[in-house]
């Protein structure tokens, strides 16, 4: 093998660093019209009237649209195929706004400045309605808040309960039962590229949508639902993307942009500024979790009782899946004989939530891992040893879906990680009674590989030989900047004996690609990678068959390597082969393969963090970090490490700094700019070591499993556990802002 397991740079890296890659906002189309959105200043209000004032008279204004003159179709921005059933509670412009930042109106104009100037001329009269601004408050009202509520906007949006084993007897037998509550904050993706979309009319009554998205087919399905038109009229292409992390998984601007293009007959650009991206797109939901853990004296977890409450914000989107997603990930980590789980998702009049790197996993593993650490601390048990005792073994099945977890190597992550980090010695030495306290902590996590057993978990890849001897990969691919195009090109190249740079990756296009779910659920390498590998094997066979004719050999004698077909001592380059085939009037070989998933193994990770806490100022520095990941096999170790480094940066922010902080009194978003929303910058990053466990997953391409989402999941609990170790505290409200740390330290000092 010479392409897989190699540190190959991004195939689009040079285009990116030289600025040649054109992002959506860089595209200049002739006759382009620009738009600006009027956003609600009210948390929950009926729009009584909208007076355009002289907005329409401003030179350059093309039109103004709001709920009275736009389609009233309900839609759900989280669906990924046409006709998918989901609560369709969102509208392009609702008559009742449901959160600060909800969409009230849009102005289309010759320039964005004119469109924004026109917004200030519009006068809207609102009638305020009672608003629900916290998850706890949401539980208190079961019925509709307004006459417009029902069947949507009723709490809880979703509720799921699961019981396994005899929990009562586990609690009764336990040597210790710990009860811990954990709160995780609402967090924002902070992609460098704010949300943006282009749309223009195409012949035949069609409309083209060019958008940085995670699935062109999801965009097509959502826009078709919002506009109530045939999906075939929508031609969606994926634009290069400046970061997403789940923030662009749901089309937010696309329905409006397509509507404006159809209505005006012009190419239309919609672009949010940074503040609008904070207040009017999606966030990771805040969660509240209460866990009771029954422990035996030897560290075995006998039983666990978990209750989770998730604030999904003003629209359902995919929030109703969260209680189930959290349950799925929770029960795939430890082998626990008795488990009870209750998860509820509730609407509030706050900004909607959606996908963000892990879809429920960061929340549930933060809850579970912080709670377990405190329970173990109560008993004086070592966090690593106890986790080794409880973590699932290879080939285990989860108790909820009864799915095999594959070659689950969580124990290897723990054992090798503890050894590499020097866990035992570092955990023992803790300097007390000093202003600066050092502590070490760790956490484990698991995450999924794709959507199986979801029935549509499949991917179709086409590989075809090009006249220059390279190959084209056609598959609805959405590289979010993490390098999936590169690792899939490596897989393709490996199978047909080319270099990764010889694989031309076509951009996702609803007109030319087979249906695909897109980049979500950590499925690119494991699911799409296998489709590409199988298509590559089929293309290699087709190429070998033709090369056998050219070289007068048997096809099973042909070896494809370095762009050449060789049999015995005769050889031909693939470019020569393509030319030879053309002169004979033979089509160049191509192969298409549809891979349907048959498994959903777990990826596992153990993270180890060292922190330095200033007990006077409450400032925390993460001073050393080790991330150990069970990836099956790394297709590109450099990109795997890149994913992990980025995951740690996001996770440190989740643990220490980041909170969108919706005011529970007013519904106002406090952190709507980078001045107020604090992310971990380069100086906050510790030295990071990465250790990969490569034991191979039999169902994955070349043994590979997912890394994208799990990279960030154990970070926050590892950091929080390290802080609790440093201080002897029981901090469980994230993020650990200096104020919270100081409060905990003061309390500990008072207790003496």
């Amino acid at each position: 093998m010479d392409q897989v397991a190699r540190r190959i740079p991004l195939i689009d890296g040079i285009e990116k660093v030289t600025g040649r890659l054109r992002f959506t906002a860089d595209r200049k189309l002739p006759g382009l019209a620009h738009s600006a959105l009027l956003l609600s200043p009210r948390a929950h209000a009926r729009i009584v009237s909208l007076d355009p004032g002289d907005a329409l008279d401003l030179p350059g204004v093309i039109g103004l649209w709001w709920h009275a003159n736009t389609p009233k179709n309900g839609y759900n921005s989280s669906i990924w195929y046409a006709g998918q059933s989901a609560l369709a509670d969102e509208r392009m412009f609702p008559p009742v706004v449901r959160h600060i930042g909800d969409r009230v109106a849009v102005v289309l104009a010759e320039t964005e400045d004119i469109a924004r100037a026109a917004l200030s001329r519009i006068a809207v009269t609102y009638e305020d309605l009672p608003s629900v601004l916290s998850a706890e408050a949401a539980l208190d009202h079961a019925g509709p808040v307004t006459d417009a509520d029902g069947p949507t906007y009723l709490n809880p949006v979703d509720e799921i309960a699961f019981a396994h084993g005899d929990l009562e007897s586990a609690m009764a037998r336990a040597d210790h039962v710990a009860e811990v509550t954990v709160r995780t904050p609402r967090s924002h993706h902070c992609a460098i590229e704010p949300h943006v979309c282009l749309a223009w009319p195409e012949p035949g009554g069609r409309v083209a949508i060019h958008s940085p998205c995670q699935s062109v087919f999801a965009v097509q399905a959502v826009v078709a639902q919002a506009l109530a038109i045939d999906p075939d009229r929508l031609h969606v292409t994926k634009a290069p993307i400046g970061g997403s992390f789940g923030g662009k998984a749901e089309p937010i601007l696309d329905p409006i942009c397509a509507f404006l293009a159809l209505r005006s007959g012009r190419p239309v650009r919609m672009a949010l500024n940074r503040q609008e991206t904070f207040t009017s797109t999606r966030t990771r939901s805040a969660a509240y979790g209460r866990m009771r853990i029954a422990l035996a004296a030897d560290g075995r977890i006998l039983g666990r009782d978990t209750e989770v409450l998730v604030d999904i914000g003003a629209y359902c989107t995919g929030g109703s899946y969260l209680p189930g997603s959290m349950l799925q990930r929770l029960v795939r980590l430890y082998a626990i004989p008795a488990e009870r789980y209750r998860g509820r998702a509730v609407y509030t009049n706050t900004l909607p939530t959606g996908a963000f790197r892990g879809y429920g996993s960061p929340q549930i593993h933060a809850i579970g891992e912080i709670a377990l650490d405190l329970a173990l601390c109560d008993m004086g048990l070592d966090p690593v040893a106890a986790r080794v005792r409880n973590i699932v073994a290879p080939a285990a099945r989860d108790p909820w879906q009864n799915l095999p977890l594959g070659n689950a190597r969580g124990a290897d992550c723990l054992i090798q990680g503890a050894e590499t980090f020097g866990w035992t010695g570092r955990r023992a030495e803790r300097k007390a009674n000093s202003r600066f306290r050092c502590g070490v902590g760790m956490a484990v996590a698991t995450h999924i590989n794709g959507c199986f057993p979801g029935e549509d978990e499949a991917s179709t890849a086409t590989l075809r030989l090009l006249p220059n001897g390279h190959a084209e990969l056609v598959c609805a691919l959405h590289d979010l900047g993490c390098g999936s195009d590169t690792s899939l090109a490596q897989i393709a190249a490996e199978t047909v004996g080319l270099n990764a740079s010889d694989i031309h990756v076509a951009a996702a296009d609803t007109d030319t690609c087979a249906y695909d779910l897109g980049t979500r659920a950590s499925r690119m390498t494991y699911i799409v990678g296998e489709a590409v590998r199988q298509a590559g094997i089929a293309l290699a066979a087709a190429v070998a068959e033709q090369a056998a004719l050219a070289l007068n050999a048997q096809s099973n004698e042909i070896v494809l390597r370095c762009g050449r077909a060789t049999a015995n001592d005769r050889s031909i380059t693939l470019a020569e082969l393509a030319a030879w085939l053309s002169t004979r009037g033979t089509d160049l070989p191509a192969a298409t393969y549809t891979h349907r998933a048959t498994a959903n193994p777990g990826s596992y990770a153990a993270h180890f963090a060292e922190v330095d806490v200033d007990t006077l100022t409450g400032q925390v520095r993460v001073t050393d970090y080790l991330a150990v990941h069970d990836v099956g096999r790394a297709i590109n170790p450099m990109l795997v490490e890149g994913q992990i480094h980025g995951g740690i940066q996001i996770g440190i922010g989740y643990a220490l700094y980041e909170d969108v902080a919706v005011d529970t009194g007013t519904g106002r978003v406090h952190a709507d700019s980078f001045a107020r929303y604090t992310v971990a910058n380069a100086p906050e990053m510790p030295p990071v070591r990465v250790l990969l466990i490569e034991e191979g997953e039999p169902t994955g391409p070349f043994g590979a499993k997912a890394i994208g989402e799990i990279a960030t999941i154990p970070v926050a609990p590892a950091v929080v556990n390290a802080v609790n170790h440093a201080l002897g505290s029981r901090l469980t409200d994230l993020p650990l802002l200096p104020d919270r740390i100081v409060e905990a330290v003061v309390q500990i000092e008072r207790q003496g």
Binding site: N273, R274, Q275, N433, S434, R435, F436, D614, T615, L616, T617, G618, Q619, R621, Y657, S673, A675, T678, A680, N681, A682, P683, E684, L737, P738, D739, V742, E743, V745, V746
Partner: protein, 269 residues
């Protein structure tokens, strides 16, 4: 210039031009960043003089200034990010009048005076405390009177993270310090109110005392008392009254050219 349209002076533009803020829709923007005579640091004379359009990076890098008044150099070195420091100016930091402005805390400590060009064409010299932004005056230079400077000074700040952060509190300290003993001490803290304030209790606690755990203990308690007097009842009070102890020790350690992790300071704690 006619008074009918408002005039805005801009130098680095790091406050006025950033897209998060609403730009004034009418008026005249006068760019001062190319006015050579407004960008200078004169530290060889008795008083230190710094031009209003001097960049913060230039202030941070000026070694002679650092030798005479390191609190200002350090404040400049920790203000914003490198990109911001390369563009932002002394005059802008003063005129923007943010309660957490890092340079202003150090300038107040030095009892700085400002030379202004007034709208009518005349000049004026005022104290920094007397300055109010939005009057149309142009900040030509800041003067740090030699008589006000003590031999040693230092600056420290606390934000939500280490770099590129807006101070939740900042502190500038100036003192006579020799043979392990403090003489006169002056302390000014920012972000405890609309303008930086003197911390008189803490100054009194440290003046004339040795650098020793016992006197440092009295000093940090006095810092907390100064915070209590300034912001009691505010949401941030609980954190700030404790955090200022850490910040105070950081500033004193820096002033004495020691590490805040020196065992001496741990004994205080």
């Amino acid at each position: 210039m006619k008074r009918s349209s408002p005039v805005y002076f801009v130098a680095g533009g790091t406050d006025l031009l950033t897209s998060a803020r609403q730009m004034p829709l009418v008026g005249t923007l006068v760019d001062l960043s190319g006015v050579h005579d407004l960008a200078f640091i004169e530290s060889s004379g008795a008083d230190i003089r710094i031009g209003g359009a001097t960049t913060i990076a230039a202030i941070a890098a000026h070694t002679k200034l650092a030798a005479r008044f390191s609190a200002l150099s350090q404040a400049a070195g920790e203000c914003g990010s490198m990109q911001i420091r390369n563009r932002a100016t002394l005059g802008g930091n003063i005129a923007n009048a943010a309660p957490a402005a890092d340079l202003v805390t150090a300038l107040i400590l030095a009892n700085a005076r400002l030379k202004l060009f007034l709208p009518g064409g005349s000049c004026a010299e005022i104290t920094l405390e007397e300055f109010r932004s939005g009057t149309g005056a142009l900040i030509a230079e800041a003067v740090l009177p030699n008589l006000e400077l003590l031999p040693r000074s230092a600056f420290a700040k606390l934000g939500l993270r280490r770099d590129l952060t807006i101070a939740r509190i900042n502190l500038a300290a100036m003192a006579e310090f020799s043979d392990g003993r403090f003489g006169s001490v002056r302390l000014v803290a920012g972000a405890l109110g609309p303008h930086p304030i003197r911390l008189l209790r803490a100054e009194g606690a440290l003046s004339g005392c040795p650098l020793a755990p016992a006197s440092l203990r009295v000093f940090v308690d006095a810092l907390a008392a100064d915070v209590d007097a300034a912001i009691a009842g505010r949401a941030s009070h609980c954190w700030k009254r404790r955090a200022i102890r850490g910040l105070g020790l950081d500033a004193i350690a820096r002033l004495c050219e020691m590490s805040p992790r020196d065992p001496l300071f741990d004994e205080t704690w």
